[in-house]
């Protein structure tokens, strides 16, 4: 296990592009803190931080949602770490040198799990610090409420990165794999559209869409701003009902975990079946 992680570490850390992307990703994550100094142009100017976005336990939801926006940086790293093995043909050499195909996939998988774990830890520490600075309430029972958003964040990243890993193996070229990712995003909408339009009610179509990989990852952490008092107040004034289900549900986690298993298994199967 440690050996496999070391192997990936040597491959990634000596690559300047990957190193730069990894560092910028974690720097960007820490920059979430800067949101606190954003002033909204309302009246005298209101600090965003004073609007309750950093209140416990809401902060767990808000920060994990914002942090997940940056996942594309690591997605590029993961797609290219896989696709480069093909373009440099180093995957062939790795196997000849005595790495088994299983170990090869496992080394990539534990790397992406480590990335996800590290990101989660990062978000945890930043949120905790920001919360203690800005939150109205710092009672421990409230501080550690709703931590399931962090679990959702972790699962979401693992699922998304597994999808990227699979695309890297499937397409073998980084740029095309990322293109395929965008294509798939559109495909899910098209599938939703066609089902809703031709085959069933829009409600059923939405439920089917919820099962698709990218949509299910999207659903894990809902957009948080509609929970804010200010936004709710505005909504009430214009008479719109903006209440929604923002909780993390176990079945949503399960769907993403199943997709993760499928992607990793398919990656392994592709590698096993293909002649290099």
């Amino acid at each position: 296990m440690i050996r496999l992680l070391e192997i990936e570490y040597i491959k990634l850390w000596n690559n300047r592009a990957s190193k730069a992307l990894i560092i910028s990703y974690f720097v960007l994550l820490s920059l979430i803190a800067l949101i606190s100094v954003i002033k909204l142009p309302i009246g005298e100017g209101v600090l965003l931080a004073d609007m309750g976005i950093f209140n416990f336990p809401y902060i767990w939801h808000f920060n994990s949602w914002v942090a997940a926006l940056f996942k594309l940086f690591l997605a590029i790293v993961i797609v290219s770490m896989m696709a480069n093995e093909y373009s440099n043909k180093t995957i062939k050499q790795n196997l000849i040198d005595g790495l088994s195909k299983k170990e090869f996939i496992l080394s990539k998988f534990i790397t992406l799990v480590s990335f996800s774990l590290l990101s989660t830890l990062f978000v945890f520490i930043i949120s905790l610090s920001l919360g203690f600075i800005f939150s109205n309430d710092t009672e421990l029972s409230i501080v550690f409420r709703d931590l399931e958003y962090l679990l959702a964040f972790f699962i979401k990243l693992v699922g998304f990165f597994s999808f990227c890993l699979f695309l890297g193996i499937f397409v073998k070229r980084s740029a095309f794999a990322l293109g395929f990712l965008i294509l798939w995003l559109i495909c899910e909408q098209v599938i939703y559209g066609i089902i809703g339009w031709q085959f069933s009610s829009w409600n059923t179509a939405q439920q089917i869409k919820n099962l698709l990989p990218l949509e299910s990852m999207q659903n894990l952490i809902k957009e948080p701003s509609r929970r804010l008092d200010l936004v709710k107040a505005v909504g009430n004034q214009i008479g719109a009902d903006i209440s929604y289900d923002y909780a993390v549900h176990w079945y949503q986690l399960l769907i993403v975990l199943i997709w993760t298993a499928i992607f990793i298994y398919l990656s392994f199967l592709l590698l096993k079946r293909r002649d290099l």
Partner: protein, 305 residues
């Protein structure tokens, strides 16, 4: 307790191995075995299945049928490969990493210590360039780095697939010298090539393939089944042909550009033959006894079958 003779230790056994790419049969029911201490050449024209065969035993190409096993067959292929050093086709390394970083990675994969890196880099003459990125290397240097990498674990067998392909004369010479040096140390080598003189120079055994089928496998010298031939020149051409016709040791006779080639049907040394001709009144201006080169043997064999 019976001791297995270490000189006869099996390194690789291949039984009825077949690989099909769609309708094309790249390797056709191939069987052979590799024993410790010998230097093997796998010969065959381009597309004869050499690289595919090596790809299968090296875990990168899936076989269609048949089987193979490394050593006594008790370890999995990928674990066995940790005791093998192999380079197939082009040298594949991470272009952005230095020679040393690349070799460190190989050590991690093979689970061997890193203390041999400098020694092996020195062997292939790359020690002073160990901190340069792989992408800055010339093809010859890349190929030598690949050899260093294959030797990191002091392998039981070194497998080289077309190691001199695409190299300039100096590069070819350097690689050959390295191979000779390694063969000299008693390492088993399997060398796939379509360059026959390359194989002739270093190999003790050959396996000859054509269209995925084995035409011959065994010792190089045993392959030279013929007794050789004489090249003769004389001013008494007609008398010479007459005398040759009456000699039972001589089979086929060919004359080309005034040079007569007489093929032997049994062993006959040049002294005796010269004496015999002289006694028959024929005086030679040119007499050479030769054996067919591996190249001639090979062409003969591949054309016949």
């Amino acid at each position: 307790m019976t001791k297995i003779n270490p000189a006869l230790k099996q390194i690789l056994t291949v039984n009825n191995l077949t690989k099909k790419f769609g309708s094309l049969t790249a390797v056709d029911k191939l069987s052979f075995s590799i024993e410790k201490g010998n230097v093997y050449g796998v010969l065959g024209p381009n597309g004869s299945g050499k690289s595919t065969t090596l790809g299968v035993v090296l875990n990168v190409v899936n076989k269609t049928s048949g089987n193979f096993f490394w050593f006594d067959g008790s370890t999995s292929t990928h674990n066995a490969l940790k005791k093998v050093g192999a380079i197939i086709e082009r040298p594949n390394f991470y272009p952005y990493m230095t020679a040393q970083q690349n070799l460190k990675l190989v050590c991690k994969i093979k689970e061997v210590s890193e203390n041999k890196i400098n020694e092996k880099l020195d062997l292939v003459g790359l020690l002073d360039r160990k901190d340069s990125a792989f992408r800055t290397y010339s093809l010859g240097m890349k190929q030598r780095l690949a050899i260093a990498s294959a030797l990191l674990n002091d392998p039981e067998i070194l497998i080289l697939d077309e190691p001199t392909n695409g190299l300039d004369p100096q590069g070819i010479h350097q690689i050959r010298e390295i191979i000779k040096k390694i063969a000299h140390q008693g390492t088993t080598i399997l060398l796939a090539s379509h360059l026959l003189d390359e194989v002739e120079k270093v190999c003790s055994h050959v396996i000859i393939l054509r269209k995925g089928k084995k035409l011959y496998s065994g010792r190089v010298d045993a392959m030279m089944k013929t007794h050789g031939f004489f090249e003769l020149k004389t001013s008494q051409q007609n008398e010479l042909l007459q005398v040759l016709k009456n000699n039972t040791s001589i089979g086929e006779v060919k004359t080309e550009n005034g040079l007569t080639t007489a093929f032997l049907t049994e062993d006959l040394n040049a002294d005796t033959f010269n004496k015999f001709l002289f006694e028959n009144g024929i005086i030679l201006s040119h007499l050479v006894k030769r054996k067919e080169s591996l190249e001639e043997q090979f062409l003969d064999l591949t054309n016949k079958n």
